[in-house]
Each structure stands twice: as structure tokens, then as C-alpha cells.
């Protein structure tokens, strides 16, 4: 019977092609939008994790309480030992130290006196070690605009707008004025090796990046760091795993000491109101997906309705020839299932192909980010998850089937006695 119906579909293009194409396109769009939203959410999390928060971040309790102002007088001490212990206890993670600091960049004139000054927000990370993952995490490999990355001690990168304001070009000299870990005045001369554009106004206006070795020297932070960041080695943020790891670390730390200098681990969600942002993002994402899938379902449902109505005459003839109403109805449902499955498979394959392509290559949205005040990535990549393989079945199969089922109810309303009269007209 299925084979008979399938042959019927193949041989009648009007019964197959239009419904099949409709389902395919609808499912393609559904799968792509699903992957796009998953990708946007993933990029948002990973961008913040790489640049600011890590999957987890260890700070002193005092530092964590005032983390927005990066109070380095409350920085972690004996960081090398701490990182060594972390690598032993949590080998599934990668760990690195960073220092954030504020200050002023002062540009000298020919006489060595102040020509211009600008406030900076500095990030110090391991950017001189060959192959350091920090270059990728800080997006320095993609963000460099002019000049080059620092290749030796004493070289810094600054944001594009800051460079313009201070009239600094690669090779220019500038003096950093900041505070040491102990509160003393910290000053040091640097060469600007490169100018970067993140596409995020806050970073381009005040951002400064230097090697952590240089920062430790000027800020008097030998074997100290404001923050130790950790990421899952496979790069995937898994909330439950991360929260369990943080709980374990914090239990050990609390058992050892409870003063403001004792270390505490914060997960990505614990920092910068990320929990609220992530939840909001998930809610918006869910709403968009729901509305889109609903819309696609209505379209495909309508397609099922139209398909059935278009076959009004054919159904009449079949009933007139003595085919039972239930048999016609079931045959139509079986055809809808076949079209739904074929269209969904085709749409899912095409949607996944497009999503995999954009997962690898991304969509450049830097043009939209010029005046962004919050940290968002300038490239959005789609993300294919296991759910993407099945999400298309909701509109593709279920909606087509429901559409046909509702339209098919008309079969039972047809009066056999008046069929020939209807067919005459």
C-alpha cells in the first residue's frame, strides 16, 4: 500500500513537488534559525569567557567583592603554586593568570614632557610565550589593525580610538602611570607595537594589552595576579560540570581559610551579571524559536490544507467509485507523512549544511558593533547541536500531518448521494 501511494506521489508532480519544496524550505529555515540562535548564544558565552571571565575565575574574596574596579591590592599571591595545584586537581581544565589594571597613558613631546594623556583599562596576559592560547582568547590574532603583536618585553597594544586621541602610531613611545599592588605609584615606558580594533567601543577607547611579565614588573606583582582564569580543555562550557568544580574548589578553600585574601572560584555565570544575561538570552532565544516554529508550522499546515482542498475532485471520484472514507483519509495521512519525512530530511540536510558552513566561517557583524558599549563578538557563528538534527520534524512532519488531518475531515462530510451531482459541475 505504501509503495502504491509512494509511486502515486512520484508520478504526480503536482501532489509531490509543491508540498515537498514547501516542507523542505520551511525545515531548512527552521534548522538554520535554530543553529544561528544557538551559535549567537554560544558566541556570547565564549566571547565573555575568553576575554573576561573564563569558564571559572579565581580571585581573592576581597578582590571578588570589588571585581569591577580590579583592586590589585587584593590580588592573589603565590600564583605559580596555585596554578600548579589547580593543574593537578583539575586536569580537565586549562589555567592561566591575568592582571587587570587601570591607569593613565602619558605621551611625551620632544622634550619628554606631557603632550597628551588618556585613561586606560589594561589587560595583562601571557602573550609573549610562543603558541600561547591567550592570543586567540584575547582575539589579538584577529583584532590587530596596525603594526604587529608585541614580540618582546616593553611592547604594548592599544585600542584604535585611544591611539587616535593620543596621536600614537605603532613604534610610538608612551608612559604608563598606575598603582602597584601595594598602592605606590607605578610608572614605566613602553613602545606601542600595534593598534587594535575590537569593534567594541569600550575596548577601542581605553583598551591596553601587555604581557603579564611586564605588568608584574611595573605593578610590583611578582608571582601575583589579580585573577586566575580556567577553561574546560575541550572549550565547551558545561554549566553543571563547571558549577560542581567551583563548589569543590570553594569547599576546599573555605576549609583552609576564610579571610578576604583567601581564594574563591566564580563561575562564568557568577560574574558580570552573566547569569541574568544568559537567562534572558535563553528566554529570548526560546521565544524566537517558538514563534518561528509556530509560523513555519502554520505555513506547512496551510500547505497541507491547500493540498487536500486542491484534491477535492479526485477524492470525490474515489468515494464515488466505492473507496471507503476511512481508506481515503488514511491514504492522505500516509501521503502527508511521506512528504513530511522526505521534506524534513531534505530540509534538515540543507539546513545543517548551511549551518556547518557558517559554524566554520561565521557572519561578520562588526559593522553593527561600532558603538556597542557591551562586550559582544564581531563575528557570529552558527552552532550545530544534536537538537538541530530533529528540530525540523516539528514543522516538517507534525504540521504537515496535522494540516492534512484537519483538511481531510471534509471527506467524512461528503454525501455519497450528491457526489455525481457535484462531479457534473
Amino acid at each position: 500500500m505504501i509503495r502504491f501511494l509512494f509511486k502515486g506521489l512520484i508520478r504526480d508532480r503536482s501532489r509531490l513537488l509543491f508540498p515537498f519544496l514547501t516542507v523542505t524550505i520551511g525545515v531548512l529555515l527552521t534548522v538554520f534559525i535554530f543553529c544561528y540562535l544557538k551559535g549567537a548564544s554560544h558566541e556570547f558565552v565564549e566571547f565573555n569567557a575568553d576575554l573576561l571571565a573564563g569558564h571559572v575565575k579565581i580571585m581573592t574574596k576581597g578582590y571578588a567583592a570589588e571585581a569591577d574596579s580590579a583592586p590589585n591590592d587584593l590580588a592573589l599571591a603565590e600564583v605559580e603554586k596555585l596554578i600548579g595545584d589547580l593543574r593537578t586537581k583539575y586536569p580537565e581544565m586549562t589555567w592561566t593568570a591575568r592582571i587587570r589594571f587601570g591607569g593613565l597613558l602619558d605621551v611625551p613631546d620632544e622634550a619628554g614632557e606631557t603632550k597628551s594623556q588618556g585613561m586606560i583599562v589594561g589587560t595583562a596576559a601571557d602573550i609573549l610565550t610562543p603558541g600561547s592560547a591567550e592570543l586567540r582568547r584575547l582575539k589579538l590574532d584577529k583584532a590587530a589593525l596596525k603594526g604587529r603583536l608585541p614580540s618582546k618585553s616593553g611592547e604594548i597594544l592599544i585600542g584604535e580610538i585611544l591611539a587616535e586621541r593620543l596621536h600614537l602610531e605603532p613604534g610610538g613611545k608612551a608612559t604608563l602611570i598606575s598603582s602597584t599592588m601595594n598602592g605606590s605609584m607605578a610608572t614605566a615606558n613602553y613602545t606601542v607595537s600595534g593598534i587594535v580594533r575590537y569593534g567594541v567601543r569600550a575596548l577601542d577607547r581605553m583598551g591596553l594589552v601587555m604581557d603579564i611579565g611586564d605588568a608584574r614588573a611595573v605593578l610590583d606583582m611578582e608571582d601575583a595576579a589579580g585573577e586566575v582564569l580556567g577553561w574546560k580543555a575541550d572549550g565547551l562550557y558545561e554549566r553543571k560540570t563547571i558549577e560542581s568544580l567551583a563548589a569543590d574548589f570553594n569547599a576546599r578553600s573555605a576549609a583552609a581559610s576564610s579571610d578576604e585574601m583567601s581564594p574563591v572560584m566564580k563561575t562564568l555565570r557568577d560574574q558580570n551579571e552573566m547569569a541574568a544575561l544568559q537567562d534572558q538570552l535563553a528566554a529570548v532565544q526560546g521565544a524566537i524559536l517558538f514563534v518561528f516554529i509556530l509560523a513555519m508550522s502554520l505555513v506547512l499546515w496551510n500547505s497541507g490544507l491547500i493540498g487536500s482542498l486542491r484534491r477535492y475532485g479526485e477524492i470525490g471520484v474515489r468515494l464515488a467509485l466505492g473507496e471507503p472514507k476511512g481508506g481515503v483519509y488514511r491514504a492522505m495521512l500516509a501521503e502527508a507523512v511521506m512528504i513530511g519525512i522526505l521534506g524534513t530530511i531534505a530540509g534538515t540536510i540543507l539546513g545543517l549544511a548551511l549551518s556547518y558552513y557558517l559554524q566554520a566561517h561565521g557572519i561578520n557583524i562588526s559593522g553593527l558593533m561600532k558603538n556597542a558599549a557591551i562586550m559582544l563578538p564581531s563575528t557570529l557563528n552558527t552552532r550545530v547541536t544534536p537538537a538541530a538534527y530533529v528540530v525540523g520534524f516539528i514543522p516538517g512532519l507534525v504540521s504537515t500531518l496535522i494540516g492534512t488531518a484537519i483538511a481531510g475531515r471534509g471527506i467524512y462530510k461528503r454525501s455519497t448521494a450528491s457526489l455525481f451531482k457535484e462531479l457534473e459541475t
Binding site: D73, L74, E113, T114, Q117, I177, T180, G183, N189, D220
Partner: protein, 259 residues
């Protein structure tokens, strides 16, 4: 003998850059009727040190990582000229600061740079202490920028004090309101609270010791606290002072910063 004073905004200067400690002559015999708040404030202003002095002072910053003591030598001419060289600890040794009127420069030997301190940098802490560069730059007489009102009386360091509430009469003051405890007899400020425009307490200044040196009463130890900052404040101690010292004019030039 000139009456001298140690006063708040200038108290920064007092102990770091422009040691403006107060001093006063011995109390006169007999007492007239109680002076008004405005008269007391005027007297405090009149006690400002117009002459020159060379002073060695130290400040101990009670920070969150422990205490840190910085020693400095200052050359001061009136209220507008001051030159300070930091002597100790080694990390700070050789850092110099020059104040000429409303301008301030600093020199650090590690960079061999003379850096002008202005704009947002003025609000930063000086050497990690509880005073800002802005505190240091305040050199106008209080009676010209504040209206004084009586706010009670209290005894501090066994000295009867009048409490005055000073409210800014000009828009560009660092602090909108100050409360000062004035030892009427010596015209010395023994305590001060500084408030912002919102009425929030920002800083406190408390004299811990007063000594008579060269016939003048001098506040030799004081504690300044930035109440918005963690820590137990910054303690200033005047170790020695030479009044009416002869200071070559070249000291108050940018050239002397690099010497």
C-alpha cells in the same frame, strides 16, 4: 610671631608636598567675647604660613596588604610653591613632585619623565595614600570659598574646640561641606570631616599630636582617612621642620625635577 596652621585640603600638602601644618603663638592673657564662626575661620586662614620652610615628614599608609611608610623631604615657599623628594623606601626613592600655583608635575627616575598631573589624574590617590592630588592642589583661603556656621563644641586632645560647618559658596570646591574642630586659643584645626555634594562623608582628618617647635604650635601627627576606601587611613608625621629657611629659587623649577 606668625600664627601658622595645618588645614585640611592643604593638609595633604602639609605632609606630603606642601607641609601646611598649623602653628600658633602662645595664648594671649585674658579672653574677649566669644568670636563668631566667620571670625574663627578668618583667624584660621590668617594663620597660614606665608614664609618658607624645609621639612622632613613620613606617611604611613595602613593598606589592606599591610603598612607602608614613605619618607619625604619638602621645600615650601608660601602656599603656591612646593618641591618634594621622596627618600624612602627604595621603590619610591628619587620620585619628585613640583607644585607651582595650580600646576603639578611629577618625575620618576625609572622613566626619566616629567609628567603633568591634571584632569582625571587629579582624583587619583597620591602614592596609595588616602589623599588625592586634588586635595593637594587646594590652596585658596577657606574664608573666600566657604560660609561658616557654628555647629557645637567639643574637647579634643584636652583642648576646647569650636565646631564649624563650612558650606561652599563657589561651585568648584573639591568638597561641598566641611566640618572643622578648631582649637580657638591656638587657631589650630584638630579635626575635620569632608563631605561631597550628596552629603556623603568622603574623608576625615584627625590630629593625633600637637607640639610646640621653635615657639610655634605644630600638628606633628595626623590621620587622614578616605572613608570610601578600605584600610585604616594614612598617618602623617612631621619629623623635623626648619622655618624661614633660605631656599634657592631654582628649587621650584622643572629643571630641579631631573637633578
Amino acid at each position: 610671631m606668625n600664627l601658622r596652621r595645618l588645614q585640611d585640603g592643604r593638609s595633604f600638602a602639609i605632609l606630603i608636598l606642601v607641609p601646611l601644618f598649623l602653628s600658633s603663638p602662645p595664648a594671649p592673657a585674658g579672653q574677649a567675647a566669644a568670636p563668631s564662626a566667620a571670625e574663627i575661620l578668618k583667624k584660621v586662614d590668617d594663620n597660614a604660613v606665608p614664609g618658607s620652610k624645609i621639612m622632613v615628614s613620613s606617611m604611613t599608609i595602613h593598606g589592606r596588604r599591610g603598612d607602608r611608610t614613605i619618607k619625604a623631604k619638602s621645600w615650601i615657599e608660601g602656599e603656591n610653591k612646593a618641591f618634594t623628594e621622596y627618600l624612602d623606601p627604595p621603590r619610591e626613592k628619587g620620585i619628585k613632585m613640583l607644585k607651582l600655583g595650580n600646576q603639578l608635575w611629577t618625575y620618576t627616575p625609572s622613566t626619566d619623565r616629567i609628567i603633568g598631573i591634571s584632569g582625571s589624574l587629579l582624583r587619583q590617590s597620591v602614592m596609595g595614600s588616602d589623599l588625592s592630588y586634588e586635595d593637594m592642589m587646594e590652596n585658596r583661603k577657606w574664608s573666600t570659598i566657604y560660609a561658616a556656621a557654628d555647629d557645637g563644641a567639643e574637647t579634643l586632645l584636652d583642648r576646647p574646640c569650636r565646631i564649624l560647618k563650612l558650606t561652599a559658596t563657589v561651585p568648584d570646591t573639591a568638597y561641598e561641606v566641611r566640618r572643622i574642630w578648631v582649637d580657638i586659643e591656638r587657631s589650630l584645626v584638630l579635626k575635620e570631616e569632608r563631605f561631597g555634594k550628596s552629603g556623603r562623608l568622603l574623608k576625615t582628618f584627625e590630629v593625633k599630636d600637637v607640639k610646640q617647635m621653635s615657639g610655634r604650635w605644630i600638628q606633628t601627627r595626623a590621620l587622614v582617612r578616605d572613608v570610601l576606601k578600605e584600610g585604616d587611613g594614612t598617618e602623617f608625621v612631621i619629623e623635623s621642620v626648619e622655618f624661614e629657611a633660605r631656599i634657592p629659587e631654582v628649587v621650584f623649577s622643572k629643571a630641579s625635577l631631573r637633578k
